[in-house]
């Protein structure tokens, strides 16, 4: 009886200690990567290749889901707004919810599951097949050669993907609101333009997506680099990447929103 209770406390204690240890290791890893980024920028084609893999190949999923989310916002928003006789504000509703929240957040979640998991699996497999150890032997720093380009590729891709998501969503809302339902196109755009502020809404959305890009890419490369060098370890690291980065994106979104849009 006493033994099992003690075991519970031991388990909780080891989990907490382990989490803090990993957090410290991740911070050190992040600093090392930033220091070594200069070396990887000198060979820019490595980063370009990663932008291709994490950004260009995520284009289709981001554009299509942006279009559909915008269309759903248009339908649902119209349904609610027309009860209050303010269906003209549909453009404002679609644009503000996309630019402020849905664009960065949903693009961040999609990016984590589409590109983040791939990065983790790739780095984890490199570790499992001892390619990283081999690079170390050849005096090639694996953090500069493998990790930093993937990180920067993600950081550069993410704000662009979020902007495309928002633009596509606004277009989807336009399709439903103006083409399908038949609201006036001029009112749709002019109401939108008078309510959406460049600095307050669009720039803050871009900052949000940039922060999410840093968080998701860091989690992805760290989980890959830190994974156990086995098939099971790689699969667990990939799962952890998706779970942790989704939670971090949603949590960070709350913190950033409370800073940006208060009052």
């Amino acid at each position: 009886m006493f033994e099992s209770i003690a075991n519970v406390f031991r388990l909780i204690g080891s989990r907490v200690v382990n989490t803090i240890w990993r957090l410290g290791y991740a911070s050190r890893f992040f600093c090392t990567m930033l220091l070594l980024s200069g070396a990887s920028f000198r060979r820019i084609h490595l980063t370009l290749r990663e932008i291709y893999f994490s950004g260009v190949l995520s284009l289709i999923i981001v554009l299509v889901s942006g279009l559909f989310i915008g269309m759903v916002l248009g339908l649902q928003g119209y349904d609610t707004l027309q009860r209050f006789g303010s269906a003209d504000a549909l453009g404002v509703l679609v644009a503000l919810s996309l630019v402020r929240e849905l664009g960065p957040v949903v693009a961040g979640l999609l990016f984590a599951s589409r590109a983040g998991s791939a990065i983790t699996a790739e780095i984890g497999l490199m570790k499992a097949t001892e390619q990283i150890a081999a690079m170390d032997m050849m005096a090639v720093n694996p953090i500069a050669r493998i990790v930093a380009p993937r990180f920067w590729g993600g950081v550069i891709s993410m704000p662009l993907l979020a902007a495309m998501f928002s633009a596509m969503g606004v277009f989807g809302g336009y399709l439903v609101g103006v083409v399908l339902i038949g609201l006036d196109a001029g009112t749709f755009w002019s109401q939108m333009q008078s309510s959406v502020d460049f600095q307050r809404d669009i720039l803050n959305g871009v900052i949000k997506s940039f922060v999410f890009g840093i968080a998701v890419s860091l989690i992805a490369v760290f989980e890959g680099y830190d994974s156990d060098a086995t098939a099971e370890g790689v699969s667990r690291a990939t799962t952890r990447t998706v779970v942790t980065s989704s939670l971090v994106v949603l949590g960070l979104d709350f913190i950033l929103t409370s800073f940006m849009f208060r009052g």
Binding site: A95, S157, V170, Q193
Partner: protein, 159 residues
């Protein structure tokens, strides 16, 4: 996949991304019309600003001529001090009347300027003397109810 094709795809990707940002800035946002050219500051004291918000428009005859910059409370006489930035293309006579209006029944509130006939214009930093507070719907309704009650106590033929 050799390197040049990747470069091209990345180029297309970045171009679409920047294009979307431009689209958001120009078409969705109001970057093209937001900036007031060298605005000047006017103040107005109101008894009650209702639901007026910072960044609400200032309109004359329905045309936006400026924006509300700050709203503070005067500690001496408990009046709301509304500071506005006005486009320097427009100047207003000294007896301009500032009112707080509502666009539509449930719309946003804005400051309306009714220019008077004074030959001298308001200078930057001046305070508008003649103001009219926001209409508070509850007060209006209660006034209406009381007058209705007063009406119904007298016989209808007296009207």
């Amino acid at each position: 996949m050799n390197r040049t094709t990747i470069d091209m795809w990345v180029g297309i990707f970045v171009a679409i991304g920047i294009g979307s940002l431009l689209f958001l800035a120009m078409k969705v946002g109001n970057l093209s019309s937001a900036k007031l050219a060298q605005p000047y500051v006017l103040k107005a004291d109101f008894d009650n600003i209702g639901g007026l918000k910072v960044r609400a428009p200032v309109k004359t005859s329905g045309v936006v001529v400026g924006r509300v910059e700050t709203i503070t409370l005067d500690k001496q006489n408990y009046q709301a001090v509304v500071t506005m930035k006005i486009d320097n293309h427009y100047s207003f006579p000294r007896d301009t009347f500032a009112t707080i209006n509502t666009s539509g029944l449930l719309g946003e509130q804005y400051v309306g300027f009714d220019p008077g006939g004074d030959t001298e214009n308001l200078k930057p930093g001046d305070t508008i003397k003649k103001t009219q507070s926001a209409v508070v719907l509850e007060k209006l309704i209660s006034q209406f109810m009381f007058s209705k009650a007063a009406d119904s106590s007298t016989p209808p033929s007296a009207k």
